[in-house]
């Protein structure tokens, strides 16, 4: 059972907003005493997803939450865009696959960086990605 302790929504429409969100996530991560390595992992994962959102989904919003499950505290991030959606999620999750001439590591890499990863997408409606990183996970 995952409880949400605090909630904060940030709009992302420009590349500059990435910095703002990154600082916000850092603040939250420090608050729950997340280690430096995990902080960096979480922030990197977030910036991967943000860049995807800006590049393919024309921006969207991100919900930053502090969550708690048992004795474990963590940060949950939910990225939502109203972009074109991903037709084949299994393919998008494969290392090295990219439709936009990038390294193709964004989604699979993000999954490796966090503890919980969930992606939902509907063609023509948009994509929602939820990730959780536990403070000591």
């Amino acid at each position: 059972m995952v409880l949400s302790l605090s909630k904060d929504t940030i709009q992302v429409v420009r590349e500059q907003d990435v910095v703002l969100l990154r600082n916000r996530i850092k603040e939250v991560a420090v608050k729950i005493k997340m280690g430096l390595v995990n902080q960096t992992r979480l922030i990197t994962a977030a910036s991967e997803l943000l860049r995807n959102m800006l590049r393919y989904g024309n921006g969207g919003h991100c919900v930053v939450e502090i969550v708690s499950s048992g004795r474990n505290n963590g940060v949950r991030l939910t990225f939502t865009d109203k972009g074109p959606g991903i037709p084949d999620i299994a393919l998008a999750m494969k290392d090295g696959y990219s439709t936009g001439k990038s390294l193709g590591l964004g989604l699979p890499g993000t999954k490796r960086l966090v503890n919980e990863f969930d992606i939902k997408s509907k063609v023509g409606e948009g994509t929602t990605v939820t990730i959780i990183k536990w403070a000591n996970g």
Binding site: V37, T44, L103, R112
Partner: protein, 287 residues
């Protein structure tokens, strides 16, 4: 608006100006410290003439019509001057709002017997002045945004210096986020400097980059490839332990790039590659 009304307003221009000036001067918020009464008068006169001169039966209903552009231009100018003089946006807004009171007071006097048209005309005056006030705010915000954009440009310029640490060795400390625009500037500066100094080794120091994601890594790889094409070797230094772990987890392959944990070790590597040696002077040696 009834054809007579705007004619009437045109006829009453002088009275409107006087009334407006009287209101402004009587107002508690008058900022004599920022603007002299003469200057205030000339500003007000300019705006009233432009406003009333451009009133017509067409323009009154459609604020987007071209007829309003001279008024908007003058008002924009006034808003900028006022912002520079130190007026708050609220004070500039009130300046325009007080014109509304003057206009409506004149209408009231002239259309005393005809309540219905007084109401209709007042509404229209209201709408125009509200639009004009929004213009002053827009100008104010635009001015602020220009300042921010200029600062952003300045930061990009400042934060990418190319340093010549040794004959033939360049160092480039990158501080802050490495986005596409930044990479472009970094790459241009670096390649240019390689040509100018004839350097054979470039050190990219990323100690000041907060997070290395796949896009940043891709930019780094591109910069390294471009440097190699120019015949120089590129070393990436300043990789912190947490960044190293993250890069591995992401699955980014940096194995064919020379990477070092600190600028010092990168410099040592560069010396070695250039067959240079840094030695402690023999203590016994006397000068």
């Amino acid at each position: 608006m009834l054809p007579n009304t705007y004619k009437l307003l045109q006829k009453k221009k002088k009275a409107i100006l006087e009334l407006w000036m009287k209101n402004q001067l009587a107002d508690e918020g008058l900022r004599e410290d920022l603007i002299s009464n003469d200057e205030l008068r000339s500003q007000s006169e300019e705006l009233v003439s432009a406003l009333i001169g451009n009133l017509s039966s067409d323009s009154i209903d459609d604020f987007n019509s071209d007829q309003w552009s001279p008024v908007i231009e003058i008002l924009g100018g006034i808003a900028i001057t006022r912002a520079r003089q130190g007026f708050t946006p609220r004070e500039t807004g009130n300046f325009v709002f007080s014109l509304k009171e003057a206009l409506i007071e004149v209408l009231q006097q002239e259309l005393q017997g005809d309540l219905q048209s007084l109401f209709a005309e007042s509404l229209k005056v209201n709408r125009i002045i509200d639009n004009l006030t929004v213009v002053t705010f827009e100008t104010f915000i635009k001015g602020r945004e220009e300042v921010i954009l200029r600062q952003t440009d300045e930061i990009t310029e400042i934060s990418t210096p190319v340093i010549r640490v040794w004959d033939g060795i360049l160092a480039l400390p990158i501080i802050g986020t490495l986005d596409s625009a930044r990479t472009q500037v970094v790459m241009e500066n670096l390649l240019q400097e390689i040509v100018e100094t004839g350097s054979s080794i470039a050190i990219l120091d990323i100690s000041g980059v907060p997070a290395v994601d796949s896009l940043v890594a891709q930019h780094l790889i591109k910069t390294v490839s471009a440097t190699r094409l120019m015949g120089a070797e590129c070393i990436i230094s300043g990789i912190r332990p947490e960044i190293a772990q993250t890069v591995v987890h992401l699955g980014i392959d940096l194995s064919n790039i020379i990477t070092k944990s600190s600028l010092a070790s990168a410099l040592a590597y560069a010396f070695k590659a250039m067959r240079l040696e840094v030695r402690k002077i023999n203590a016994v040696q006397k000068f």
